[in-house]
């Protein structure tokens, strides 16, 4: 091994690495977003209060049973196996020939959905009962309570967990190489197939993975901070009816230091 060999791999094959990294990032972003939406929907459905009787009770029970099976199956099996079953299974059983890229996003999304469904359900359950009661007491029904009081708090609370899923997805999309998705791992393997510099090529790949995960972590932390709003509030003197603008807040905070 030498620095030269490294440099050669990078100089010669950087477009391939870059394409792989770009696809990895693309699949992870799209799948994390779609998966989170699936998870949010399922988590919300699974916490709908079950009425004492009637058709709705039966319907909710059936839907909940189906969702439980979905969550358990996708959490209980490795994604690499799911990828094989779904990609080749859909071809053999239904004659559906999926684009590898589409198949990749599909698989990672439903996998993320299964995990975030549980995260969301936990997030909803952990919201203080008093929040629900206060919302009900001013006349909100379950839908409005969820929409305007509970879900915004749940989203804020589960953001770190979703960020974690995102980072996991960046790493785990590598299993999609088994269905020939041109993500970073697949591209690296291709480079090795050409020049046999296994160590050098995969070192480059690890650096790229690390750059992606570290950047994503930083960005998410920034977003969390932003969602919490400023640490101080402005006491509005007199009886002015005015909502402070961000500029005022900045001035105010400066004045305090």
């Amino acid at each position: 091994m030498s620095w030269e060999a490294f440099a050669n791999v990078v100089i010669k094959y950087w477009p391939m690495f870059l394409r792989g990294a770009r696809n990895t990032l693309y699949i992870s972003i799209v799948s994390t977003i779609i998966g989170s939406l699936i998870g949010l929907l399922i988590g919300v459905v699974r916490t709908i209060p079950i009425p004492e009787r009637g058709f709705k009770k039966v319907l909710i029970k059936i839907v909940n049973a189906i969702l439980t099976v979905y969550v358990e199956v996708f959490r209980g099996t490795p994604m690499i196996v799911q990828a094989m079953v779904i990609f080749y299974g859909s071809l053999m059983a239904f004659g559906i020939d999926m684009e590898p890229m589409f198949a990749g996003i599909f698989i990672v999304s439903i996998n993320t959905g299964a995990y975030t469904a549980e995260i969301v359900r936990g997030g909803i359950i952990s919201i203080d009962k008093g929040q629900f009661e206060a919302a009900h007491a001013i006349g909100m029904n379950h839908r409005k309570t969820m929409l305007y009081v509970v879900i915004p708090q749940v989203i804020r609370n589960i953001l770190p967990a979703i960020g974690n899923e995102f980072v996991i997805n960046i790493k785990d999309t590598s299993v999609l190489n088994v269905i020939s998705v041109t993500e970073l791992f697949f591209q690296t393997k291709t480079v090795v197939g050409i020049n046999y510099k296994t160590f050098e090529a995969f070192t480059v790949a690890s650096i790229l993975y690390l750059i992606m995960t570290l950047t994503v972590t930083r960005i998410l932390r920034f977003i969390e901070k932003r969602m919490d709003g400023p640490d101080n509030y402005v006491v509005i003197p007199g009886n002015q009816m005015q909502v402070a603008r961000p500029e005022d807040l900045i001035k105010h905070n400066k004045g305090r230091q």
């Binding site: 929040q131 305007y148 509030y233 509005i236």
Partner: protein, 246 residues
Amino acid sequence: MENIIEVQHLSKSFGSNEILKDINFSVNKGEVVCIIGASGSGKSTLLRCINLLEKPTGGKVLYKGRNILDDKHDVYAYRTKLGMVFQQFNLFNNHDVLGNCMIGQLKVLKRSKAEAEETAMKYLKVVGMDQYINAKPRQLSGGQKQRVAIARALSMEPDVMLFDEPTSALDPEMVGEVLAVMKELAESGLTMLVVTHEMGFASEVADRVVFMDKGIIEEEGPPEKIFLNPENERTREFLRRVLKQE
């Protein structure tokens, strides 16, 4: 006198545990009724049955003469007519002070943004929190939170306000500011049903005091009678106990 809320033969059980037994009483328009009684006597449960946060096991709850336990009755519309103030404040954590007082008006009463903001500001002024409209609940003291919670309930312009021990979770130095607001509201003619351990407040502000013990209303009457001349042995015993503590 027009009665706004009337409770008839109300009972409530949790499993085999009967918490409320054949409760009968009413709240008239403009009246301030204080409910007192030992811990665990069912005061909160009674309040929660009135706004249907708990489902009564038996009896009737009449709102302006109509039984709200009828299946036909719109629970959500009914609840907008009752303002509820909780011991634990329960401000919406995802909204600031102004948002807390506006969200119900916007989404439940379907008021316009301008009207909701104006109404919210009006009541935030009443409780003296109009200077803090941008603050998030976590940035406020207990007393401030409770005053915002009162403004939130008032912003819905209900017919009657229910208070469940609004000062019990507060540090002693903050009890006064909340009681002062409540006193002001009582004097303005607002109909109020207040569960409280503040005997001073009850004797000063209440038109009527209701004493509950073990899920039963043992005695009710004007504060002078309940506090100075109670007939019931249990009432006397309870008052001896709490007044000694104070």
